[in-house]
């Protein structure tokens, strides 16, 4: 409960940072709003119209009040409400992150368990070397390399966007895989999946590496403990010992890492989306920075930070749920 209440000051602080950081930027926002060749009178009128002539803290309070009621302002570049644009793009980022997370958990946990059970084997050595390379590679470069090999060289997979231009899909949730299933559109499902593979792998690399390392060290620690020796002495089959007893206890730190990584995926998505021209929130944020579209930057950063805080909260609660030794008061 206390943990829940703690997020309010954090979110408040986040809003202060986002608002003032973006307003710190050089350049007069009224001039940017009015356009490049606007007359002085028009700039002045714009300033009054948007309340930019009022003290900064008043502007902040107005912005915060609007943000709380779901109004993140209007994009300078497109003149659309920022929240509408963000919500339109969020499913793309969410779907990509989910796919990356599934890949990372499947590959990472499996590799970690095998490495721990067969410590110092060839597999252990190779997967830990692979993990080290995984965390040392720039995400965007890996994206470019995947694109080069599988997209351009072998011509196996599409390298940009979410769907091929000739494939139509009626959007229901914005998650294309789910939409294709809901509308029983097999062709769109295959096409959307093909588009997800390369960016999904690129985005999954770092979390996979970290999860594999965490799983391995966590499993190694548990395997050496007395109760596992007892289980073995009782004559329990090795597979039961590993999966039923060791893995369950090793899971606690693994879940924490997975939760942390899911938040970090949102950051990684910014780069992956740029490489693969993925129409998500990360790409939107970067475009807003290029266009100096301040309401859009503020809105997008606030939204991503909000999701990040929420994911961390859920992780903490999950952590408490699977580990009875930790209880938040």
């Amino acid at each position: 409960m206390k943990r829940l209440l703690l997020i309010f000051p954090v979110l408040f602080g986040v809003s202060v940072v986002v608002f003032f950081l973006v307003r710190l930027a050089p350049g007069d926002p009224a001039k940017i709003l009015a356009g490049e060749h606007a007359s002085l009178e028009y700039i002045q009128a714009t300033r009054t119209k948007w309340g930019l002539d009022r003290p900064l803290y008043v502007q902040y309070l107005i912005w915060l009040r609007n943000a709380l009621s779901g109004d993140l302002g209007t994009s300078i570049a497109t003149h659309d409400p920022v929240l509408k644009e963000i919500l339109g793009r969020f499913p793309a980022t969410f779907e990509l992150s989910l796919v990356a997370m599934v890949i990372a958990i499947l590959v990472g946990v499996t590799a970690g368990i095998i490495s721990a059970v067969k410590q110092y084997s060839i597999f252990d050595y190779l997967s830990m070397t692979g993990a080290l390379f995984g965390i040392s590679m720039p995400v965007f470069w890996l994206g470019l390399m995947l694109m080069l090999i599988f997209g351009l060289h072998l011509n196996l997979l599409p390298i940009s966007g979410r769907l091929s231009p000739d494939v139509t899909l009626r959007t229901v949730t914005g998650l294309y895989l789910l939409d294709a299933l809901l509308t029983l559109n097999g062709r769109a499902f295959v096409d959307a999946l093909a588009h997800l593979i390369l960016p999904g792998i690129a985005l999954a690399t770092i979390p996979t590496a970290l999860i594999a390392r965490m799983t391995r060290s966590s499993m190694l620690e548990i395997i050496r403990q007395d109760f596992i020796r007892t289980e073995r002495a009782k004559g329990l089959p090795e597979r039961m010992v590993i999966y039923k007893h060791a893995l369950r206890n090793a899971l606690i730190p693994i879940v924490t890492v997975i939760g942390m990584e899911f938040g970090l995926l949102l950051g990684g998505a910014i780069l992956t989306e740029t490489v693969f021209a993925w129409p998500g929130l990360g790409r939107y944020t970067v475009d807003a920075v290029y266009a100096r579209d301040y309401p859009a930057i503020q809105g997008a950063v606030l939204f991503i930070a909000f999701v990040f805080v929420m994911v961390n909260l859920v992780t903490d609660l999950l952590y408490a749920a699977i580990n009875p030794r930790i209880r938040y008061r």
């Binding site: 703690l6 000051p9 954090v10 979110l11 602080g13 986040v14 940072v17 986002v18 950081l21 973006v22 710190l24 930027a25 050089p26 080290l132 390379f133 965390i135 040392s136 590679m137 720039p138 995400v139 965007f140 470069w141 890996l142 470019l144 390399m145 694109m147 080069l148 351009l152 390392r213 965490m214 391995r216 060290s217 938040g263 970090l264 949102l266 950051g267 990684g268 910014i270 780069l271 740029t274 490489v275 944020t285 970067v286 920075v289 290029y290 100096r292 930057i297 950063v301 991503i304 930070a305 990040f308 805080v309 961390n312």
Partner: protein, 289 residues
């Protein structure tokens, strides 16, 4: 700070840990390249030669040997740009981490040593900064500051500060309860003396390990900013910025323009990660991953 004997001791322990040693060697080579690029680079890294754009390198035959790793879309020598880029990328990494380490130490030590409302305030501040994915915070700061290498150093330095503050704080919390600190206090030592003589030297080990690992992260983040066009400004040779135009180069068939700068980034980051992991194993075997 280290007596020569201790330095030798440290070096000897380091060589015993194979991965740390490899990391150390990679780092030394990188630093050498960063110090002496003018002796190593075959060409001027910023000189354009449009007649020679997107030329392949040594693999295409003898006549392409003047540009061993080929040329980019402006006909600049990729090898020379990578060599000069070592200086850019390493300095961004080191300076950003120096900023974050100094700031983080200051905040963490004050927070951990004095505790109370100061601790609460500073740690809430750290919580707020942790509410942003690091690259997003860096991008937002760059949006406020405008592009440029020095600004990227500041942005990344700020981004890595909260983590360092937490590391320093938790180390201080342990030291603070030690009996010798109690003894110093009883002898009437000032806070400044206790901090500088007893607290700082004893928290140095985790701080150095995290500084090393953070340098790896800082180089990656600087490259990411460069890639997004928010870091080093053209024509500065910087590894990330070298990759930013390479999507077009890829579709034009010039794979080398996109491949080699990434390998350079990976080598530097790999070296620092190996060194950092190795040092962590030495200092705290329990944390071995």
């Amino acid at each position: 700070m280290f007596a020569p004997k201790e330095a030798r001791e440290t070096l000897r322990t380091l060589t015993k840990n194979r991965s740390a040693f490899i990391g150390f060697i990679i780092l030394v080579i990188m630093i050498m390249v960063a110090i002496f690029p003018h002796y190593l680079a075959p060409h001027d890294p910023v000189k354009r030669n449009l007649a020679q754009r997107l030329q392949p390198g040594f693999w295409a035959g003898k006549e392409f040997a003047p540009f061993p790793l080929g040329t980019d879309y402006l006909g600049r020598c990729i090898l020379s740009r990578i060599i000069w880029g070592t200086r850019t990328s390493l300095s961004v990494g080191f300076i950003a981490v120096a900023i974050s380490t100094l700031l983080g130490l200051l905040l963490g030590v004050l927070s951990g040593y004095f505790g109370g409302w100061l601790d609460t305030l500073l740690m809430r501040l750290v919580d707020i900064m942790f509410a942003f994915p690091s690259i997003l915070l860096a991008i937002t700061i760059m949006a406020a500051l405008g592009p440029g290498l020095e600004k990227a150093m500041i942005a990344i330095g700020i981004v890595y500060t909260p983590q360092m503050a937490r590391v320093a704080r938790s180390a201080v919390l342990v030291i603070r309860e030690m009996e010798y600190i109690e003894a110093e206090k009883a002898l009437g030592a000032s806070h400044a003396r206790i901090i500088s003589h007893h607290v700082l030297p004893n928290i140095l080990a985790p701080v150095i390990v995290y500084a090393t690992l953070n340098t790896a992260g800082a180089i990656l983040d600087a490259a990411a900013l460069g890639f997004l066009g928010l870091g080093a400004l053209p024509p500065t040779p910087e590894w990330g910025a070298m990759l930013s135009g390479s999507r077009q180069a890829l579709t034009a068939g010039a794979w080398w323009a996109a491949t080699f700068p990434g390998i350079a980034i990976m080598c530097a980051v790999l070296g620092l990660n190996l060194l950092g992991d190795g040092m962590r194993d030495l200092l705290d075997p329990r944390l071995r991953v």
